[in-house]
């Protein structure tokens, strides 16, 4: 079997399977832990309003902006660039549409009456470049900044690698640079598979845990009327 057929077929099947098993294992393993009920008298009758932390924690409060703005801006540049390339490029859109339709039975067009939007290759490439540039800047910062350097470990660097690889291989494939297209697209798919396989075991899980941790702090603090 040639590399591309492997990457599109069994490689993807295994990667997605490991991804699904790992993510659900991690999440179930967290959510099903002993939840200690708080018996103290709540200051706020309904703590559900604390879930607003999921949104509000997306930007630091004014008192903290000065020290954190650099990382926040770079972080958003990466996330926005990455998500744009992932979600607004037709070949990717077709992939997800097919997954939703074929595996989950959800037809976006039937539900909403319009097709999921997508943009030109040039636009997608631009956002990809923004994401790559941001990642490189963030890596440099992680190595140079004493706080980040101290607290960083293998997970931080490896997760960085498996995140930048799909972006770089995707852009190379789009530009047909350096090797035959079939090889480039196979490498792109393999890099995505590596990301999927690593995902449940490292900090990429923040994709899901961000809702859990912000939500937990939000509700815990809200019931006390504590500053959120």
């Amino acid at each position: 079997m040639d590399l591309l057929s492997f990457a599109r077929g069994p490689g993807m099947t295994w990667a997605v399977t490991i991804f699904v098993v790992g993510v659900l294992w991690k999440l179930a393993g967290l959510i099903l832990l002993r939840a200690r009920r708080d018996l103290s008298e709540a200051r706020t009758p309904s703590a559900w309003t604390g879930l607003r932390a999921i949104l509000t924690r997306s930007w630091p409060r004014r008192a903290f902006v000065h020290g954190t703005a650099f990382s926040e801006v770079l972080g958003y540049s990466f996330h926005i660039g990455f998500l744009f390339t992932l979600v607004f490029y037709l070949p990717h859109v077709l992939f997800f549409e097919d997954v939703f339709k074929g595996l989950l039975g959800v037809n976006f067009q039937k539900l909403f009456g319009v097709h999921w939007p997508y943009f030109s290759g040039g636009m997608v490439n631009f956002f990809g470049a923004v994401a790559v540039a941001a990642l490189i800047a963030l890596l440099v910062h992680r190595i140079v900044n004493p706080v980040k350097r101290l607290i960083s470990n293998f997970d931080d660097y490896f997760s960085w690698l498996v995140t930048i690889a799909p972006l770089v291989t995707g852009m190379l494939a789009y530009g047909h640079v350096g090797a035959p297209y079939q090889t480039l697209i196979a490498l792109h798919l393999l890099s995505v598979e590596l990301l999927l396989v690593w995902f449940p075991f490292g900090k990429l899980m923040h994709t899901f845990t961000v809702f859990l941790s912000r939500g937990t702090q939000g509700m815990q603090f809200e019931r006390k009327g504590a500053t959120l």
């Binding site: 018996l39 004493p146 937990t216 500053t227």
Partner: protein, 455 residues
Amino acid sequence: MSASDVNTEHPLELEAPRFSVKKPAVRYDKQGEVPDADRVQRAMQNFVRDFGRSAAIYMESCVHCGNCAEACHFYATTGDAKYTPIWKIEPFKQAYKREYGPFAWFYRALNLKSAVTVERLEEWQELIYDSCTVCGRCSLVCPMGIDIASLVSLARHGMAKAGLVPHELWAVAERGAKEGSPLGATPKVFKDRLEWLADDYEIDIPLDKAKADVLCTMSSIEIMKYPESIVATAKIMKHVGADWTFRLDGYEATNFGLLSGNADWQRDMSMKLIDAAIACGAKTLVLPECGHAYGALRWMGANLYGKPLPFRVVHIAEFMAEHVKSGKLKLKKVGKSVTFHDPCQISRRGGAIEAPREVLAALGVELREMEPSKGLNWCCGGGGGVVTIHRADALRYRVFQLKMNQIDETGAELPVTSCSNCRQTFDDGQAHFKWDKTMNSLLEMVADNLEGEAA
């Protein structure tokens, strides 16, 4: 004093005037004669013992962004990366992954996270105790919403069981557990004080009433260092016509079990207050001007008790605010400019942010807020037990400079707070830096300005 675990190599001098140790020899305090391997195991397991789902979620979510350092006063004033808040619990993150996380079995089977060593825990002692006041600013800046401060408290559970607490903190905690007060304000001493204060100030101070609506409590800092607070409390209770009492079986509001991380002592100390309130059928338990006392009983008490408390718990500032609103607490106007130092455990972590301000408004002061203020205020640097640790004095004074600048910039005449540990920290800092401002107690300010009464 019964047998203590306190290390006798370094004698304690709690009564002596405080001094800064310029460059203390590196010292890893230990309690008890326990093999190192056991210490580590106790540390790891007791960290996990009190874990729940929330703590696990927090432990899982860190993305190593480093933002927490920016919020921490210890990092802000030193630039030393080791004070990064999430770094303070690093060995315990490993423990979590090995002992409790969803992939724990793999971590143990494949030894993916090396077992923590006692040397590493010793190294971490100063990070967990000397350089964390559990102020909670880090929890607010964290983009992932991790309550880092609570994780440091949990880490202290492990350290305490392993006998790795800084030894002055351990000593006062043990004293509190065994004598009823960390600073020697034993029931006998307390009773004596109440008697001479009642005499000196000619005011009724009820003690050990069989039944009362309101149970008042005090902190040993006030009992020993700011006894006027006891008088102030009595005056205000009388002014609002409360049916109140002190009780010798439950008066000590500080909780050095919480601060040192000894969960058993923490429970014992809280249960004393709870049992006393139940014994006298109190509907309200009033906590004094003390920061961690509020967190300990108002928010953690019921969970230690195992059921909702059959009475309300309020901070004295909240009690005063309620009575300002109801009209029972009538105050004279104080025509001064004031800035309010929000105690971390009462405002930011405790949620009682507006109560002191309502009282200050009733006092008619010109309130000039610090920048930042309320829930984002900088910590005084003495909470969480840090003020008891002498070897941390130099660090604490660096942090204190932040506070002096903050307060000076408001141009207010009077700094006011409602936590006596903050007050103690400010007094110590004032002496060290020969600062021109003295911290005031909100409670005493109210007691001094009751309408219709001489100050």
